[in-house]
Symmetry: C2
Subunit: 363 residues, 2 copies
C-alpha cells in the first residue's frame, strides 16, 4: 500500500475525528477507494474502536432512484437508527465516473435529499469528516494524470494542520464581531450580507479533509445583491455552469445558468431554505493551486469565496440568531483573483485575492 494512504488514514482518524477506544465509527467509501478504507479500518482496530465498514454504490443508488416513483421516496428508518448509535463517521468520496448519478431526474434527487434530512441532522451532531480518494474519475474531470492527481490530493491532505489553523486565525480575528461583508468581483458580483452574531469557524481539516477555509453563516434575511458563480459546480451528478443568483431580503428572486439551468431550478425549489444562503466561506489553502471540478478542493483555494445555498451548519449560527434550514447545502464559487474585493464593515480586507495580512496587499 502507498504509505501516503496510511498517512491519510491517520489524519482522518487521529486529527479529524479524534477516535477514542470504544467509539462506534462508520467508515464509508466508494468501491475504488477501498485501499483508504482498509487503512482507516486498520487504524481503528489499533485504537480499539468499533468499526462498521460500508462501501457505497452510486450506480445502485442511481438505478434505485430512477426506478422508484418520486412519491415513494421516504426516509430509511434503518439508516437513521444506525446513525443515532454512532460516535463518528468517516466518509471517503471517490469513483471511476463522476457522472454515475447523472440520469436521476433532479426532482427525485431533491425528494431524496428532503426525505433523508432527519438522517443528516443526526449525523451533524456527531464527529464527522468527508475526504477524497484520488480516484480516476476525479483525475479525469480535473484533466490530470492519475499520478499527478494523486500528488495533488496527498499534497492537499497531508499538511501541518496546526500551522494552517494559525494562519487562518488572522482572518477569523477580522470577521469575529463584524457585521456587514461586501463582496464584489468584476461587473457580475456585488453582494452584501450580515454575519452579525454568527460564529466564524476555522476549518483546519476536521469536517473536511483537505480543510483550508474560514466560514460562517450569513444572517438569512440580510443578503442583498447579485452574484455570478463563475466556476462550475457539480449538482446531483450534473455540471451547472455560470449560475447567477439575485437576492432580495435574503431570498433568491431571480436565477439563471448557462448550462443545466433546470438542475439549478430544481435545487432552489427543494424547500424554502434552498432559496437562501446557509454559508459564506473564504478559501485560504494556497497549496490547492488549480480548479479540479471538485468542491471539496475548489472551495478551499485562495483567491476565492463561496456561498452555499441551503442549510446553515448549526455551529456557525450564534445564539438567538436564525438558522437557515434546508435539505440541501450546495456550495458555489466566485473567483476573486482579479478586479475584486472583500470589505468588512466598510474596510477592504482582501483585494484581488490578497488579504490585508499578506504581502502585496493594496488597500
Amino acid at each position: 500500500m502507498d504509505p501516503r494512504i496510511r498517512d491519510h488514514a491517520n489524519v482522518l482518524v487521529d486529527h479529524s475525528t479524534k477516535i477514542q477506544p470504544g467509539d462506534e465509527v462508520l467508515v464509508s467509501g466508494s468501491p475504488d477507494s477501498e485501499e483508504l478504507v482498509v487503512a482507516v479500518a486498520e487504524r481503528l482496530g489499533e485504537i480499539g474502536a468499533v468499526a462498521s465498514i460500508s462501501l457505497g454504490s452510486e450506480r445502485a443508488q442511481s438505478a434505485y432512484l430512477q426506478a422508484i416513483d418520486a412519491d415513494d421516496i421516504v426516509m430509511s428508518e434503518a439508516q437513521k437508527a444506525r446513525m443515532e448509535h454512532l460516535d463518528a463517521l468517516i466518509s471517503i468520496r471517490g469513483g471511476e465516473n463522476m457522472y454515475e448519478s447523472s440520469d436521476v431526474p433532479p426532482e427525485k434527487n431533491a425528494a431524496r435529499a428532503q426525505a433523508m434530512q432527519p438522517v443528516r441532522e443526526v449525523v451533524m451532531d456527531k464527529r464527522w469528516v468527508g475526504t477524497q480518494f484520488p480516484s480516476t474519475g476525479y483525475a479525469q474531470k480535473a484533466e490530470m494524470s492519475s499520478e499527478a492527481y494523486e500528488e495533488f490530493v496527498f499534497d492537499a491532505v497531508l499538511k501541518d494542520w496546526d500551522a494552517v489553523r494559525d494562519h487562518q486565525q488572522q482572518l477569523v480575528d477580522i470577521l469575529e464581531d463584524a457585521d456587514e461583508v461586501h463582496i464584489r468581483s468584476g461587473e457580475t458580483t456585488d453582494i452584501r450580507l450580515s454575519i452579525a452574531g454568527n460564529v466564524v469557524k476555522n476549518d483546519h481539516g476536521e469536517h473536511n479533509l483537505p480543510g483550508g477555509e474560514v466560514f460562517t453563516a450569513p444572517v438569512p434575511d440580510s443578503v442583498e445583491g447579485e452574484v455570478l458563480f463563475d466556476k462550475p459546480v457539480m449538482v446531483q451528478g450534473r455540471e451547472v455552469n455560470g449560475a447567477r443568483l439575485v437576492f432580495e431580503g435574503g431570498e433568491v428572486v431571480e436565477h439563471s445558468a448557462e448550462k443545466n439551468e433546470d438542475v439549478l431550478t430544481s435545487l432552489l425549489e427543494t424547500d424554502a431554505g434552498a432559496k437562501r444562503l446557509g454559508e459564506l466561506g473564504i478559501g485560504m489553502n494556497r497549496d490547492i493551486d488549480r480548479f479540479t471540478y471538485n468542491m471539496l478542493f475548489d472551495e478551499k483555494m485562495g483567491d476565492t469565496v463561496h456561498m452555499a445555498i441551503g442549510m446553515a451548519y448549526e455551529d456557525t449560527v450564534g445564539e438567538g440568531n436564525e438558522r437557515n434550514d434546508s435539505a440541501v447545502h450546495t456550495d458555489m464559487i466566485v473567483d476573486m483573483s482579479e478586479d475584486s474585493h472583500i470589505a468588512v464593515d466598510g474596510e477592504v480586507i482582501q483585494r484581488d485575492g490578497t488579504f490585508r495580512f499578506e504581502d502585496g496587499f493594496e488597500a
Copy 2:
C-alpha cells in the same frame, strides 16, 4: 448488463424475499458484485421499497480484525439498531480473492462471531436471502473459466423453484414424523442422530439462492458416532480438509483435520454450542454437478449430506425441543455417492446417492 443478472435480481426480490412496497431492505454485496446490487436496487425501486445499499470490504474487515486486540472486539450497536429496523436483507457474496480474510487469527474471528451473535439473531427474524455473484475469485477456486462459472451459477440460480419444491417434498414426507437417521459412508462415517419432533424444511430458494436441499435440526444430545467430512470446507478464509469428528452424547469428544486443524479447533471452541450439531441437510439439487469449494452450492448437490456445527435455525426446532445455540454455523459435507446409505428408523431411504423415490434405487 447481462440479462441473467436482472433475472437473478428478480428471483431474489420477488421469490426469495417477497418484497412489498414500503419494506425496508438492506442490499449488501462484495464490491465486484456491484452489477447484481444495481439490478436488485432497480427492482426495489420499481416496487417502491426503501433500499439501503452497502458493499462490504473483506480487506478492510480483515485489516480491522488483525489490528484490534481480541478483548476489544465488541458488538456494534449501530449495526444492531439498523438490522432491527429492516424487513428484509439480501446478501450477495462474491470477491476476487476468496482468501482475503485468511490472515485473521482464528480466535479473533471466533471472538467477532460471538460478539456479533445478537445482530445475527435479529437478522434471523427477518426475511433474508444469501446468494452468490459469479466472481473471479470463486471461479478460480472452482478451477473454472469466468464464462463457465457464470453459466454454472446462473444455471443453479435461475430455476423453476416451484418444481424444485415439489420434487423435494417427497423427501420431506419421509422425514416428517421420523425419529432416527443413520448415515453411513465407507469405513469413515457412521453416525446416528434423532430428529424426533423437529421441523423438516424444504429449501426452494428462499434463504439460500441457489436452494435445493431438505434440512432439519438434530436433537442436540442424540448424536452418536463418527463422521469424516471428505469434502473441504472454507472456514474464516481458510480451507479445512479431512475434518473428522467423533460424537458422544451429542458432543464432539475427538476431532482432527488433515489441513488447518487449528482452524477447526478454534471453531469448535467458540462456545459450548459449537461442539454440537445444529443442522442435518440432504443435498437434492442435481443441476449443481460439481464441487466448487463453495458451501452455498456444494451442500445442495445430490449424493451428499451435510451437517453443521453450531447454531440450529429456530424454524427447524420443534416446540418443546432443545435448540442448539452458538455464534457459529459451519456446514461440512459427506460424499454419499459410493458405498453409502441413509436409513430412517431402520429403513434405507437412500443408497449410493439414489433416493428410494428415484429410478435405480436398490433397497
